[in-house]
Every structure is written in structure tokens, then in C-alpha cells.
Amino acid sequence: MLSKLCQVYIYFFKSLALANLGVSFFAVSLVQGREEPTDWVGAYILVVLLKLAGYGLSIVIEKWFFARHRAYFFKNMGLGYRHIFGFLIGIDAVLLVLTYWIWNTVANFL
């Protein structure tokens, strides 16, 4: 199932993944660039809202516009939308941590 989820992620949800990666970069840049943490509360809330809006919008678009065309295709692979979006959110969390780690490593190296 994991390989199928990866394939679905790569072939069908590239744009969503890239958009979320962009938001993750923004979040990491906020954390790294801060001087007075209390000044950045609004920005952190913005990041959380962007993530929530991204996923909420994607789920709505998927269910309203794409489900008729590809929901059964995914289901024939044994994958429901719960699996797919659960996987997307999980991968996104991993990418966020990785982005933070890579940023720190590169910053320390420089």
C-alpha cells in the first residue's frame, strides 16, 4: 500500500505537495529569522491557517470536482481519500521537519 500511496502522491498530488512545501519553507524562514518571538505570533497563525486552508481547499476540490473522475480509480488501487490525505498530511509533516533540519544544517555549515 505504501508504494501505491507514494505513486499516487507523485502522479496526482504534485501541485498540492509543492504548495505545502512552499508554506513549510515560509514557516521555517519565519522561525529562523525571528528576533523577538512574540512579534511573530501573527505570522505563525498565518502559516497554520495557510496549511489548513490548503488542505481544506484541496479536499473540497477533490471531492467536488475530481471525485467523479478518479475516486473509483484510486479505490481500485485499494486507496480511499482517508488513506490518501492522511498520507499527504503525514508526508507534509515529515517534509516540514526535514526542511527545518536541512535549513539549520546548511546555516551552521555556512
Binding site: K4, Q7, Y11, R68, H69, Y72, K75, N76, G78
Partner: protein, 223 residues
């Protein structure tokens, strides 16, 4: 009661709004068996298949696969379903669709001319008939042990209908099939037994006279 070695679905109740479409419907299919599912338009054939596959919620259902209870057919990985509408998105190539949906029998599938000749093409670039055949073959050759085919012959040339029937015959000893279509002659030829959905219930059909009795075919069709 044990129902091992088969797809067993019982007491299916399904409704659209206040209209009860299926009420206490029972259907079973063993591996190696082809079950023909007939019924008028709107009788609930597609709804029954969707309920089994997990694409539609039922008011009530009891489903067993090889003796084990299940709620959502597609999650078992042992049930494949060909929808009435195009199954594979238009922008997906035949190669990618076969890669994603077919495992064990992929070499056999790729040896079929109508598939191999169109591997690089997007599904949307194929003619309606060829697209239907390719989608049907992808579902037939998937790893699932039970295959639900919803109107696989719709808009197909007779030569393609024969081709699909030949592949069902070829795979018959490995899988179980539930097929519904309005080409009832074709369904009759290929099926081991026929089930008719009528008035929300199922009827075991023994002869063509039964189909006439239940109002599925006109008297002129009895010959």
C-alpha cells in the same frame, strides 16, 4: 453459517432519499464462477455493486469475503470494480494505469494487442470503445480475486464484446465475476447463473421465461 471461499453479500438495504432501491438483496460469487446480474434501468444493479465495493453506503448490509466480514470492499484489496462511467482519468496514460492497478498479471495484460498498441497514449486520446476495452482489461487483470463489472459492453463493437468474454473465460479459474449489462444474451452466454434485481429484491433466474415473467424482456424476445 460459513461462507468460505466466496464473496457473500446478504440483506443489502439501500435507499435514495425516501425511495428504497434495494431491500434484503442477496448475492454470492465463488472463485471460478461468473454471476450475471440483470435488472431494468434504475433497478439497483449499480447501487448493489457500489455497496459491495464500498463506493456507496448502505442502510444495512452483511458482507463476507472468503469467510471474513468486511465493511468496505476496496480496502480488502480483493475486489475490483469497473464503473459504468470512464474509470481511469483522461490525462493518465495506459502505461501508468496498468502500472498502478495491475501487479501479478501485468505481463499477460501487456501482451494483449489493444493494450500494448496504446501504452503511450493518454486514456482521453483513445476512442470511446477502445478506452472501455482497455479499462475493462485493466480491471480484469488486476490483483483482485473478485471482479465487479458494471455494463462492460456498453457502446462496444461485437468483436470487442467477444474479446472481453474471452478474457473472462481465460481468467475464470482464478477469479470470481459479477457482471451486469443490458446485452442479456451476452450475459446469459457467459454466466454460470443469473440473478435478476426487480422491485428491490433478487430472483434466481432459471430460464428466459423467468426474465419475461419478471418483466425484464418483452414476449417477442422469447422467440
Amino acid at each position: 453459517m460459513e461462507h468460505g471461499g466466496q464473496l457473500f453479500v446478504d440483506s443489502v438495504a439501500c435507499r435514495y432519499g425516501t425511495k428504497m432501491v434495494l431491500s434484503g438483496v442477496y448475492v454470492s460469487c465463488r472463485r471460478g464462477e461468473v454471476v450475471g446480474l440483470l435488472g431494468r434501468n434504475g433497478a439497483g444493479k449499480s447501487s448493489l455493486m457500489k455497496v459491495i465495493f464500498g463506493g456507496r453506503k448502505a442502510f444495512y448490509k452483511h458482507c463476507e469475503l472468503d469467510g471474513k466480514l468486511f465493511q468496505t470492499g476496496y480496502r480488502t484489496g480483493s475486489i475490483a470494480y469497473l464503473t459504468q462511467e470512464p474509470l481511469v482519468p483522461s490525462y493518465v496514460t495506459v502505461r501508468l494505469a496498468t502500472k498502478l492497478c495491475v501487479g501479478t498479471y501485468r505481463d499477460e495484460l501487456l501482451a494483449i494487442p489493444v493494450v500494448s498498441e496504446n501504452l503511450g497514449k493518454r486514456m482521453g486520446a483513445l476512442s470511446g470503445g477502445v478506452r472501455r476495452v482497455v479499462e475493462t482489461l485493466i480491471v480484469l487483470y488486476s490483483d483482485a480475486s473478485y471482479v465487479l463489472l458494471d455494463e462492460p459492453f456498453a457502446n462496444l463493437a461485437p468483436v470487442y464484446i467477444d474479446e472481453i468474454n474471452n478474457h473472462v473465460e481465460k481468467l475464470r479459474n482464478r477469479k470470481g465475476f459479477i457482471i451486469t449489462d443490458h446485452y442479456y444474451d451476452r450475459i446469459w452466454d457467459i454466466s454460470d447463473r443469473i440473478v435478476l434485481i426487480h422491485n428491490g429484491c433478487n430472483y434466481q433466474i432459471e430460464s428466459r421465461e423467468d426474465l419475461y415473467t419478471h418483466g425484464y424482456i418483452p414476449s417477442s424476445a422469447l422467440g
